[in-house]
Symmetry: C2
Subunit: 152 residues, 2 copies
DNA sequence: TAATAAAATTAAGCTAGCTTAACTAATAAG
DNA sequence: CTTATTAGTTAAGCTAGCTTAATTTTATTA
């Protein structure tokens, strides 16, 4: 069929344009916030998962315990993280995002959201319906793939 | 309609899961390659745009000229960049990716491609057709939005 | 041709982020 | 109760990445 590209090509083209844009935006977000990749990784980890101890953050980042401790220390000083003793085990420090950090992460997510909305704003009802269907399918597939990888 | 979410919700959910995955992958790519965010930014800039001088790279990264020069110097020593005199103006050094750097960037892109393929592998023909249509529309919209922003 | 401008580099100095090694405090095990 | 283990921090030292200031080389302009 002349008006239909292969799924492979379409995925490639979409990933290319989405990633190019995402990396560009992320770079500017780093510059604008003044935070490093390591610092933003900590904030994102805490946004997507639950509050946790110092070691878990270091493990997730692939750095040593002292590195995680120092990184957290700087973020605490910046007012982006809170460090509280775990009442059940006073050796553990529970690390969590401050309201300011939550707002910062939300703003980063919202920026991407605005870009996607701009993409779809001028589309017809039919095109929008197709996108709703397609992205719902993809999102579900992503979630089930993630559920699989947890068990493996 | 009960089985149809709003476009807004769908975009939000998709951006969330896609970004979470992308950031996770990107972090591991950095760790695995041993390259910093700044270094990868240079490689991506050169992948998406043409070869250019030192100043342009610094400008794109939002750093000073000496910072760009030093960054490039390290990447040249790593065998990822080539630095050649511009024959038309010998003050300018033309910076370009080496074959090794091209392969590195391609591998990063291919990894994301494989993830998307895994997402769509188990889908029905109808679902695949809807995704082809939707992502083609989104990719075109992204390109035309980018074309607009160049002129503004 | 002499002065000026432009592109890149070098030098000096700072901070972030990482390492390993040594240390403190709290819990678990014997 | 004493010993070992676990969680986290502190200390010392290194490199990357950034800055500003000074320098070198090439091109432009008066």
């Amino acid at each position: 069929m002349e008006n239909s590209q292969s799924l492979d090509q379409v995925l490639r083209a979409w990933a290319e344009v989405f990633m190019h844009r995402s990396m560009h935006d992320f770079w500017h977000f780093m510059k604008h916030s003044g935070l490093s990749m390591s610092q933003l990784s900590v904030l994102l980890r805490l946004h997507y998962h639950h509050a946790c101890g110092v070691s878990e953050i270091g493990e997730h980042l692939g750095v040593t315990n002292p590195a995680a401790s120092q990184l957290i220390d700087r973020l605490v000083n910046l007012g982006l993280l809170e460090r509280n003793e775990d009442p059940s085990d006073r050796r553990i420090k529970n690390i969590s995002l401050t309201p300011r950090a939550i707002a910062l992460v939300q703003e980063g997510i919202a920026a991407r959201q605005r870009w996607l909305q701009a993409l779809t704003a001028a589309l017809s009802a039919e095109e929008q319906a197709a996108i709703i269907q397609a992205l719902t399918t993809l999102t579900e597939a992503a979630h089930s793939l993630e559920a699989q990888s947890i068990t493996s």
